[in-house]
């Protein structure tokens, strides 16, 4: 870009076409600005790609490649192999760039799952960031392997015989840990400082790194565009979306819930995708189940303010047996 007014200010330019209040693009900006200019972005098909790369325009101040929906992990491995060759064999002198994958939960939990597993297994030095908005929001809010129990989506609509999505969210964090990812962390769009700190921390480790961030989707979740941060915060403070850092398989940090932690209804009632749960007895049962998921997370990851650290680790090991 000639006469770039944003030069040295940001690597993620304004003017992209994301919705007002988009949790994903907000989070992507914080990450890319933390990673800095010596970074190559590999993006899966999805809202981030669609809203930032319309032909003739680009929101990216770093090299960016989009190939397909399911393959960013493998494309990133290929870029890394090319860099290794330049470095080792050709003896070119340069600072190895950070290679970062940006992919949604559809690309990560579902269609690109096998390819992500391959990247983990190869031990490739890549930071994989999953922007988790719990469904195929780009195509109109269909359910993915990340959609929580009871979510009303366009492919798991609620109705006389259905309360919405029947599955529970796939535990990708445990999967990443089990596959040997050296650095695994979660966060939500409400905590940019946490995201920045985790991005910096992740870069200290050589090997595959996985950060999963809950990013509210205004149209897909049916929230007000000024509620993104509030919803993302409630996801964490209720214990529904535990905020963790796991280094080399050990939990090193968790975000504690407060003594007066909000109940899950506080989180659900702000979102149209859960509206139906408040309408009848079956829905109330699902709300109780979702509350019990929060309680289990709080116990399992030691999120309550009084939990001891060693207790957390013991419980985590139990889960992962």
């Amino acid at each position: 870009m000639k006469n770039n007014p944003y030069k040295n200010k940001t690597l993620f330019y304004p003017g992209h076409t994301a919705c007002a209040g988009c949790g994903q693009n907000l989070t992507a900006r914080h990450i890319i600005n933390t990673l800095g200019p010596n970074t190559i972005v590999v993006n899966a098909t999805g809202c981030l790609e669609v809203t930032t790369t319309k032909y003739g325009e680009s929101a990216w101040g770093v090299p960016y490649i989009h190939s397909l929906f399911e393959n960013p992990a493998a494309v990133a491995s290929g870029i890394l192999a090319a860099m290794k060759f330049k470095f080792k064999i050709l003896n070119l002198k340069f600072k190895m760039p950070n290679i970062v994958v940006f992919a949604g939960d559809g690309a990560t939990f579902d269609i690109g799952f096998g390819l992500l597993s391959g990247m983990f297994e190869r031990g490739d030095n890549i930071l994989y960031v999953c922007f988790d908005n719990e469904g195929y929001q780009n195509t109109g809010a269909q359910a993915s392997g990340s959609s929580p129990l009871g979510t009303d989506t366009t492919t798991t609509p609620h109705g006389k015989k259905s309360i919405g999505a029947l599955q529970t969210k796939k535990n990708m964090v445990a999967f990443a840990v089990s596959q040997g990812a050296v650095y695994v962390a979660t966060s939500t769009a409400a905590y940019p400082k946490d995201i920045e700190a985790k991005t910096i921390e992740a870069l200290k480790y050589n090997g595959p790194k996985y950060i999963q961030i809950l990013v509210p989707c205004v149209p897909g979740w049916g929230i007000e565009s000024n509620k993104t941060v509030e919803v993302a915060r409630l996801a964490a403070t209720t214990g529904f979306y535990p905020i963790l850092e796991i280094i080399e398989g050990k939990i090193t940090k968790v975000l504690k819930t407060s003594a007066q932690k909000p109940g899950i209804e506080e989180y659900l009632k702000l979102q149209k995708r859960y509206e139906h749960l408040f309408e009848n007895a079956n829905g109330k049962k699902v709300i109780a189940q979702l509350q019990s998921i929060c309680d289990q997370n709080i116990a399992a990851y030691g999120l309550c303010p009084t939990c001891e650290e060693h207790e957390v680790l013991m419980q985590y090991r139990e889960i992962n047996k």
């Binding site: 590999v42 770093v62 090299p63 989009h66 494309v75 990133a76 870029i79 060759f85």
Partner: protein
């Protein structure tokens, strides 16, 4: 140097001499020996490429896509179901204009599952935007790989080198593996671009809306069509350096022939035998090998077949519900320009042995 080698070994040795920087592949019969040989060269320190193990063909193709975008010379090989699995990436590589070179060890497609040779795999990706070459014999299986790197990297398009599974990959024959210095000389002038340079950030793989998509696809279409003369030019340079002639269309005893067989791939050898046998019986027959399916060499095919009475197209792949795919291709090239009767035949599917007698019997 002339050596007696297995086809796969000859291909692997040649690919290594082309000095790829990143190799990634997933095993599938009959491609396996090629990638096993490359892995062994890597293990023995006889190569310097990064060998990246992939968990699927889809991944292997994506890995070489990424490496190619970062400016590396890359290689992958596959076959049959593997090529179909990576089809989405195959289209993507072409759309992005990345100079990937891939070997397809041609094999049948299931169901019913069958690991033996025909060309249904390659013909199934003929519309994807790759330059598609077919080896008619052992030596071409070697030579076309060297040519493929030259073409791919000088015009920024991917190239598939098709070699018939088992017929070439698993048999042994005398073959010349060119000297590395000559290969280097042939490939020397190419400069590969790293489009992911952090000093010059670019956005690659953009979303293209209806206002530009059609133009971009047509541009790619024209670009591929316009490579015919460039490819011939490179074949000429190849002859100057290596002393061997490569042809987009090869002809055998066609000059005075009234009936001509047309085929892609290594069964051409058997077809030439059949021509000799028919000639002994006084029949004026000849044979044509089509060495390049995309871009389709309409003029060359027309030149070879224009004044013939009968053309017998030998198909190793079918457009199910229509006809042999090569038959359609030949009809298209000759439409309105040639009065020959075109007889489409489907032969040698799923490894069925094609004999001289069978081919002789097709001339009625």
């Amino acid at each position: 140097m002339k050596q007696i080698l297995e086809g796969s070994q000859a291909i692997a040795l040649t690919v290594n001499l082309c000095r790829p920087e990143v190799v990634s592949a997933y095993p599938i019969t009959p491609q396996t020996h090629i990638v096993e040989d490359l892995a062994k060269m890597d293990a023995d320190g006889k190569s310097d490429f990064e060998f990246v193990r992939a968990e699927s063909e889809f991944s292997a193709a994506s890995i070489v896509l990424g490496a190619s975008a970062a400016g590396s010379r890359v290689y992958t090989a596959t076959s049959s179901q593997g090529l179909l699995l990576m089809t989405e990436v195959v289209y993507n590589i072409a759309g992005l204009g990345l100079p990937v070179v891939m070997t397809c060890a041609n094999r049948a497609i299931g169901a019913p599952i069958n690991i033996w040779n025909d060309q249904q795999d390659a013909y199934s990706v003929r519309d994807s935007g790759w330059i598609m070459l077919f080896a008619k014999n052992f030596q071409e299986a070697v030579d076309l790989h060297i040519l493929a790197y030259k073409i791919a990297e000088s015009v920024s398009l991917p190239v598939i080198v098709n070699v018939d599974g088992f017929i070439i990959t698993h048999t042994m024959e005398e073959v010349d593996i060119p000297n590395e210095k000559l290969i280097k000389r042939f490939l020397l002038e190419i400069k590969r671009e790293n489009i992911l340079d952090v000093k010059n950030p670019k956005t690659f793989g953009s979303l293209v809306t209806p206002s530009d998509y059609q133009e971009m696809r047509l541009e790619l279409h024209e670009k591929i069509k316009n490579q015919k003369s460039k490819i011939k030019h490179e074949m000429g340079k190849f002859k100057n350096i290596f002393g061997r002639k490569l042809d987009i269309v090869s002809e055998y005893k066609t000059k005075d022939a009234d009936t001509v067989f047309v085929i892609t791939g290594a069964i051409y050898g058997t077809v030439m035998e059949a021509v000799n046998s028919l000639r002994k019986k006084g029949k004026k027959v000849g044979a044509v090998h089509l060495g390049m399916l995309r871009p389709f060499p309409d003029e060359d095919i027309l030149k070879a077949l224009a004044n013939k009475k009968k053309i017998i197209v030998l198909n190793r792949a079918i457009s199910l519900g229509a006809e042999g795919i090569l038959t359609t291709e030949i009809k298209k090239a000759l439409y309105g320009k040639c009065k020959a009767k075109i007889q489409g035949e489907i032969i040698g599917l799923g490894g069925r042995d094609v004999t001289v007698e069978e081919i002789v019997g097709l001339v009625k």
